[in-house]
């Protein structure tokens, strides 16, 4: 019984090198993206990160035009485009009357359309699908190194920025009165977001890159009260989703990226119902209130 369970879960990874690579890549992404997602969610920037992930597309597309399906070119292009849109949207918000969500929506629609057009200039439908939905089963050595590197930079970055980042979330005005760190911290954080989106783009494609970033973070909110709990829970959720999604996609012959995101979605659904912090079931069976 246990043997079959172990085989069902781990069999594909023991058997195939590409599955092991996919798992390692997804685990690296699960280590770095969810903590970033937790901060995005708490700053009410969840949708903004989704918009930014689309902004990575035209950059990657230009890399694709120049060098074909080459990892370094598309990564560099994606990084540049993502950072540019993050900065531009920030500037537009600061210098005009348009709110940040509106300016990001504008940028992301333009970039998504531009990206698809750019890729169609030279590539096939298959190339387009690869870029939109990722190629997690075709991660080569450089791609794995990139994902590992991104995880390392992200974890060190968050550890370094942690205190000012929390202050910037809770009370940005206070941070401004005691320190000039607020602005640099904000942009460093946006840099980490873009870095993880580019990482997610390798594995899950532009359309789902935020899947492993946001879903585990939102799920963690149902299980932990404070940041110290939410970050580990979100990482655990992302890792479980990666494992389940990869296995599922192998067994049921489903597209891999969407399977991973759906697994994360299933965890979210379960937490939404049964989570101890604001889960729906808790609302319906009210425990008797305390005396004081």
């Amino acid at each position: 019984m246990t043997a079959t369970l172990i085989d069902a879960l781990f069999g594909p990874f023991l058997e195939f090198g590409f599955m092991r690579r996919a798992l390692v890549g997804c685990l690296a992404l699960s280590l770095s993206a969810p903590p970033v997602g937790v901060f995005l969610m708490l700053r009410r920037m969840s949708l903004m990160s989704d918009a930014m992930s689309h902004a990575v597309l035209p950059g990657a597309a230009i890399g694709f035009l120049v060098a074909g399906l080459s990892l370094p070119a598309m990564t560099l292009g994606g990084l540049a485009a993502g950072l540019a849109v993050a900065l531009l949207a920030g500037m537009v918000t600061r210098s005009t009357l348009i709110k940040e969500d509106a300016s990001l929506a504008a940028f992301y629609l333009i970039s998504l359309a531009a990206g698809v057009v750019l890729i169609s200039l030279r590539g096939s439908q298959i190339d387009l699908l690869h870029i939109l939905f990722g190629t997690v089963l075709a991660l080569d050595d450089p791609a794995l190194l990139l994902l590992g590197g991104i995880a390392t930079v992200t974890l060190f970055g968050i550890a370094t920025l942690y205190r000012p980042l929390v202050m910037e979330c809770v009370d940005p005005l206070f941070l401004r009165t005691v320190s000039r760190a607020g602005g640099p911290v904000h942009y460093a954080f946006l840099g980490l977001v873009v870095l993880n989106l580019v990482g997610g783009f390798q594995a899950l494609g532009t359309l789902l890159a935020v899947g492993l970033m946001l879903l585990p973070a939102i799920t963690a909110r149902f299980w932990a009260t404070d940041l110290g709990g939410m970050i580990p829970v979100s990482i655990a959720c992302a890792m479980a989703s990666s494992l389940a999604g990869l296995t599922l996609s192998y067994r049921a012959d489903l597209p891999t990226g969407p399977a991973i995101v759906l697994a994360a979605g299933a965890l979210y659904g379960v937490s939404l119902l049964f989570g101890p912090r604001g889960g729906l079931i808790r609302r319906f069976i009210r425990p008797r209130h305390l005396e004081g």
């Binding site: 708490l42 370094t160 809770v170 009165t177 005691v178 940041l227």
Partner: protein, 278 residues
């Protein structure tokens, strides 16, 4: 004219948004150790003045001299500007006040006694592990005052600290303010409750975009000054012309006790322009 150490000198200060002045031609000195109430109708520029002193709002004209104080000002904004949904514990909120000691990386643990002590002073014993979202309005304001205690600043600016706070809490916090005053700190508080101001603040600045009066509280809070403040503050002009000079002197210069210069110095190079674009 430079301010003495620890004083905050305002020279022809005009602060505002989008070239419309919210504080207009303000001169005077907040001397070290002052306990000053900022009074005026809504929109009179009280918050703007406090934000100007901490450097949140840029000067449209004139300047603020705060020699040696750039890093010694603590500022309590209206609490509406703080995200209380963030899952942060009370102790961590109070520990933010340690920033100047521990910066972004050093440990806060060695200061734990000091943090607990500050919570005790504001009557929040045992609240250190509660999330800030679970505090009532008054408790949250007490926690922010604990953060101010931890900041240990020489100048403390309070923006309507007692709005939405019950009588007992404001009495407690007023006692704390009196303690700070006794320790020689400078305190400037924007307030609406004139009774509170009369009872606890020896000095008052009555503001209605322009300074109406500045001096000992009893001399400033006269019915005539208050009526004038009300009239002045209601006249917000969308199509205001470029301001060429001082818009009338403050009503009661004689009430001012610090011997500061009050003349507006608008030399040719100094005249300011804040006309609204058509």
């Amino acid at each position: 004219m430079t301010a003495p150490g620890g004083a905050i000198a305002l020279h022809g200060l005009t602060l505002g948004y989008d070239r419309h002045p919210a504080v207009h031609h303000l001169d005077g000195t907040i001397r070290p150790g002052a306990l000053l109430a900022l009074v005026g109708p809504n929109g009179a520029g009280k918050s703007t003045l406090l934000k100007g002193i901490v450097g949140e709002v840029p000067c449209l004209d004139g300047r603020i001299d705060r020699p040696g104080l750039a890093d010694a000002i603590a500022y309590l904004p209206q609490s509406a500007e703080i995200d209380r949904g963030f899952p942060l514990r009370v102790l961590d909120l109070v520990a933010m006040g340690l920033w100047r000691h521990i910066g972004p990386w050093r440990r806060a643990a060695p200061y734990r006694d000091r943090l607990i002590g500050a919570l005790g002073t504001v009557g929040l014993v045992g609240f250190e592990d509660r999330l800030i979202g679970t505090l009532s309005g008054g408790q949250f304001q007490r926690a922010l005052f604990a953060r101010l205690i931890v900041q240990d600043a020489r100048v403390i600016l309070l923006d309507e600290p007692f709005t939405g706070v019950d009588g007992r809490t404001s009495a407690d916090l007023l006692r704390l303010i009196a303690t700070w005053h006794g320790q020689g700190r400078t305190i400037v508080a924007a307030l609406h409750d004139l009774g509170q101001v009369r009872a606890h603040f020896p000095e008052t600045l009555l503001l209605a975009r322009e300074p109406v009066a500045w001096g000992p509280t009893e001399a400033v809070l006269t019915p005539r000054n208050l009526a004038r403040a009300q009239t002045l503050s209601e006249a917000w002009d969308e199509d205001a012309a470029i301001c060429d000079g001082p818009a009338g002197p403050p009503a009661s210069l004689h009430a001012h006790t610090h011997g500061d210069e009050h003349g507006h110095h608008h030399g040719p190079g100094q005249s300011h322009h804040h006309r609204n674009a058509p």
